[in-house]
Amino acid sequence: MSTSTVPLNDSAQQRRSFLLVVCCTLIGAAAQVLIKKGAGALGANPTMLQTALAMVLTPALFAGYSLYGISTILLVLALRHGQLSLLYPVFAMTYVWVTILSVAVFHESMNPYKLAGIVTIVAGIAVLGRE
């Protein structure tokens, strides 16, 4: 889609890359929820080999890593045309979605430390993108 014959102007391309990265963060966060669900269903003390096999054989884990792959491909597509310094902070939104989903899906507790931590990490990644 990024090799369309009609040339897009800069801002349209930038917007398209932005939306692509937002999709990528949503899919990436959904992937983490599936991976956590699948990993939680592993036995009490799985070996490394059992864990590796489960990644292919457990539907939730397999689906999670498939989504993870898709989100990585979307990110690469977005980065081909977008500006890295703008897209990197957007990409860090994955951390925000995963936190929200952890509370919504797994009923994990939220507290000021976790919130401050997430904000600091996202800001740190944004600084990294400015390089």
């Binding site: 991976i35 990993a39 590796a52 600091t120 400015r130």
Partner: protein, 110 residues
């Protein structure tokens, strides 16, 4: 939590070898499948995901997932030590912020 941090450590070697391997790539399939650096990079990524699954099976996702950010700290270090990329002030600031964020989340863990 140690497993997830270990996963981020090995995952950063995945990135390092992919980077070194990609630099030596030519435009044919054979050069992709015989590129041991690239294959080693992929192997590191696979190993790192097994560790991640192992680590994430217990504990809170809202605590464990942010630990993945430690991977960018390792990657910054290897880029500086092995690839010779400059460690600029913004990079150091980002590194410090990511570590502080992780410490905060660790304090908020149940």
């Amino acid at each position: 939590m140690a497993w997830v941090m270990g996963a981020s450590f090995f995952g950063s070697f995945g990135a390092l070898f992919l980077k070194i391997g990609a630099g030596k790539l030519q435009r044919n399939l054979l050069s992709v499948i015989t590129n041991w650096r690239l294959l080693l990079g992929i192997a590191f990524y696979l190993f790192s995901s097994v560790l991640f699954v192992f680590g994430v099976r217990r504990g809170e996702l809202s605590v464990l997932y942010p630990m993945v950010a430690l991977g960018s700290v390792w990657t910054l270090l290897w880029s500086w030590l092995i690839l010779g990329e400059p460690l600029t002030r913004p990079k150091l600031v980002a590194l410090g912020m990511i570590l502080c964020g992780m410490a905060l989340i660790g304090m908020g863990a149940r």
